[in-house]
Amino acid sequence: MKVKDYNDTIIASITAIVGGSVSLIRISGDNAISITDKYFTGTDLTKQTGGRFFHGNFINHHGKIIDDVILLLYNSPNSYTGEDVVEISCHGNPFVVEELIQQYLSAGCRMADPGEFSKRAFLNGKMDLLQAEAVADLISAKSKRITENSIALVGGRLSELILKLKEELIKIASLLTLDLDFSEEDLDIIQADQIADSINKARNTLEALIGTYNFGRLLNKGIEVLICGKPNVGKSSILNALINQDRAIVSSTPGTTRDTIHEDVVIENISIRFIDTAGIRITTDHIEAEGVLRSEAAFNKADIILLIIDISEGITEEDQNLINKINASYKNRSIIIGNKKDKSIELLTKKEIYQTGIPVLEVSAKTGNGIIELQKSIINMVKVNTNELNEDILITNKRQYEILKKTLESLDHALDSIKNNFGYEFISVDMKTAIDLLSEITGEISTDDILNNIFSNFCIGK
């Protein structure tokens, strides 16, 4: 097996292979231009300067024309990866794309690993780790908020913040060591309470940043709302009503499994996936083992659970079972929906429901009555549950979150030391850890396994 080399020239399609009238293929590395030149008839690429585009035919090694293409040329270091890059815009035909890529592979290129373009961009100093991760986020962003967040992060906003934080900590650490080194020189360097103040300031910034993770993570992956209820209460109609209220950006993928149908919708700039649990039944006497497992998994995974009840029929035993189940385990993230309000004149007066403390909404999927309130309630519940603060920057990434938490821990150790009147040499220990951790976030010293870990979570073509 050929060992993969950092110096290989790599290639991948950077647009989705199916769909779209145009496909874009990127080649990066030392031989990107020379190999392309072999197959491009438009001009002698080796004599061209980067930053220009060219039009011509792409041929195979028999001289047969594969496609009529537009070619974008980038000379190192002015490219995404920092190496020589060629991007070929061809017709969005999978056979064309395949044959085009084949020419490169036979000329010695290899397929790019997931995230490899971004990894090279990072290694060539075109961006730091935070920016690289933001690129991945940007591509998969499921909400406008995340999109804006990712754009800011790609632009280096988070990196700036982290850098500033690190500089603050380095300043504090320097004063500590200055005091330690020159304690004999009779120069007042710094007092313990001043140090505590500075550390607290940094700590507060850090804590606010960490606090955005719950919400950021949720926004990033998209909110999952589970619609459950016994048959014929109108689950599908509610689903449709929720969707039809807003323009769907993502066209519904035929995600029909045996048990669920899901639809993706954007509400208030947030991507929400509604999952209709058509096939899940729960009765008191007979529960399919497999069905229970599936239903448990779906309930646990959901961010919000909507339990639909047909008001016009009142509350049956099956309804009650579901209410009990939800009350027992999912109380904080559930809403009870009384559907078919148009049919019933009476209000849902069964006291038991209200006693659970779970919010109850009455709607009519048919008339649309109450649907907008329902949407708002869903969003609000998410915000409350994730402690949403109106912060500037959101952390959406688990790796970053974990490191920031450890950094906070270190600062807390340092504050403890000050409280207990330990000497500066002890405070320094935790300051060093905190500073090292912040360097880790932006990827200052990364081992290959760390980087592989990060970039392998990207998709191919990034």
């Binding site: 060992v3 290694l123 330990f422 935790d430 010293i445």
Partner: protein, 560 residues
């Protein structure tokens, strides 16, 4: 005065200062036929600057040299007249021993050590160059042109190399006041391709003790029980004297300011860059102009003897090891201040004389002056540099520490005894608690607790070691985790045949530095000034990708 007709040796050391005597003595003690060439035998080990040994971070160096088998600690204990442990109000990790010495007597003791070492010949003469052939040393050339053949040469001329002395606006060519500089050596090295530069340091004025009005100064008494530098010294016997502190005032500052135009530093006459950390009084007045008084110590300050001695010792030891065909002895940054010193000297750029600080040691909690023996004496013993008596003391201490940990730490102290003993000083107990848990209370010392549970007498140093490790165990754990991470990166070896010039993704400066310094591992590479974190990442990835092609270095040694 020893003179000799012998002109062939295993190792020749040039220069009889603090580095030279360590190098020569350890080389001789390792069994090498050694010569020390010095311009004046009576000036061996003479302190050019402050007559003091030790101080912050430097005291640690002295004790480490001693643990390994060097002599600076022993000489200091014999000649010290004012011992003071610094930073006693702070934690043990930043405490350092220091002593003012009788300058003349120090030199006498040093000379005695040197002249009475077996395998060591002292040659009173001036060396003016080195002779080499086929990339090997052939010998050291003396003033009269004659050659002393040698298999290894150690140059410890130090501040004497083409020395230049400025007194006010006068310039004199000298190594020390009244002594000739060492000439010819620098040019000899330059001919071999070395580049030369110049650094500057200042020295305090000397005043006669009878010219001081002792009624107007504050007394600084020495420590009642002086802690010796050397692990082989039981007690300091020499009589101790007081030192004194006084202050400048605004009148002094005014007077000093009138002389700025004749100060060679201010007028730019001095072309070397002085130590930032050793500000002269002009510096202090200038930079801290809002202070209306500055401390003046009679007499206090630091020099560079300890750094010199450490380098001399390591050079002598390693020259001997090399000639014996053995592995070199290297200390890592996490093992000793000596390791920090040498690593920094190799990897950093030096615009000013290097001075050791505790802040240079990332792992200062573990590198304390009082555990130098636990860290290093085994090495010294293995090289045959530590005598039976000293080693015996060390083993006894190890045993004592073990005993305290095994026998005493798990003993419980009942509420009655504890509460009556510690009355207001520590919160009451409601049930019996183990010693090892009680010791975590910052207000309680281990000695106090041991008094309650045993009649056995334990030494302060052993109690101190156990106490520190428990009281600060959290910090030690976290520092040890840092060391783990550090060693991981240090263990990523860089093959000897690596070609940095081909790494386009790395900055030009980094490629140059790496090619020049040839670091043995990633950790060392990261400490080279001019190598940025981004450059480092490129190197790390390159090494991972080319793992199959790694050519391990000759020694395969991984610094701890």
């Amino acid at each position: 005065m020893k003179q000799t007709n012998k002109n062939k040796f295993d190792i020749v050391v040039v220069g009889g200062g603090h580095a030279g005597i360590e190098a020569a003595i350890v080389a001789a003690n390792m069994g090498m036929d050694t010569a020390l060439v010095t311009m004046e035998i009576n000036k061996i080990g003479l302190m050019s600057c402050n007559p003091a040994i030790g101080g912050l971070a430097k005291g640690q160096l002295v004790r480490e040299i001693d643990a390994l088998g060097g002599i600076m600690g022993k000489i200091s204990d014999a000649a010290g007249i004012h011992f003071k442990m610094l930073n006693t109000s702070k934690g043990p990790a930043v405490q350092s021993p220091r002593a003012q010495a009788d300058r003349a007597y120090y030199s006498k003791v040093a000379k005695n050590f040197t002249l009475n070492t077996r395998n060591l010949t002292v040659i009173e003469d001036a060396a003016i160059g080195v002779k080499t052939g086929k990339n090997k040393i052939i010998g050291v050339i003396l003033k009269d042109g004659s050659l002393i053949s040698t298999r290894a040469a150690i140059l410890t001329n130090g501040t004497f190399l083409n020395g230049l002395i400025h007194v006010g606006d006068k310039k004199i060519s000298a190594g020390r006041a009244g002594e000739m500089p060492a000439t010819g050596i620098t040019e000899s090295l330059q001919a071999l391709g070395f580049t030369a530069g110049r650094l500057k340091t200042g020295t305090p004025p000397r005043i006669h003790r009878d010219s001081i009005d002792y009624t107007k100064v504050e007394v600084q008494a020495p420590d009642k029980i002086p802690v010796p530098f050397s692990f082989s010294t039981d007690k300091i016997n020499r009589q101790q004297i007081n030192c004194y502190i006084t202050y400048t005032n605004t009148k002094t500052h005014d007077i000093l300011r009138t002389g700025f135009d004749r100060s060679p530093m201010f007028t730019g006459t001095i072309k070397g860059v002085g130590p930032r950390y050793c500000p002269s009084i002009e510096d202090k007045i200038n930079r801290f102009s809002d202070k209306n008084r500055h401390q003046l110590f009679l007499e206090n300050g630091t020099s560079g003897y300890e750094e010199a001695a450490a380098q001399g010792f390591m050079a002598g030891l390693n020259a001997a090891l090399k000639l014996k065909g053995q592995e070199p002895f290297m200390l890592g940054r996490s093992e000793a201040y000596i390791g920090v010193l040498i690593d920094d000297l190799i990897n950093k750029t030096h615009d000013e004389p290097y001075r050791m600080f505790t802040s240079r040691a990332e792992f200062r909690l573990l590198l304390r002056h009082d555990n130098a023996d636990l860290r290093l004496m085994e090495y010294g013993r293995n090289f045959g540099l530590v005598d039976d008596q000293t080693y015996g003391k060390y083993l006894a201490r190890r045993k004592e520490i073990d005993t305290i940990q095994k026998n005493e730490m798990s003993k419980k102290i009942g509420p009655k005894i504890f509460n009556s003993h510690f009355k207001n000083k520590s919160s009451n107990l409601t049930q019996a608690v183990k010693v090892k848990d009680l010791i975590k209370r910052p207000e309680i010392s281990l000695r106090q607790l041991l008094e309650l549970v045993t009649d056995k007498e334990y030494s302060n140093s052993s109690i101190g070691e156990v106490e520190f490790n428990i009281k600060y165990s959290g910090y030690i754990e976290r520092q040890s985790a840092q060391i783990e991470k550090f060693r991981n990166i240090e263990s990523k070896l860089i093959p000897a045949d690596i070609d940095y010039t081909s790494m386009q993704a790395m900055s030009v400066e980094a490629r140059e530095k790496l090619t020049r310094i040839k670091p043995v591992n990633i950790g060392q590479a990261s400490r080279i000034s001019g190598v940025s974190p981004a450059d480092l990442s490129v190197l790390v990835i390159y090494l991972e990708k080319h793992k199959h092609g790694n050519v391990p270095r000759e020694t395969g040694y991984i610094p701890a």
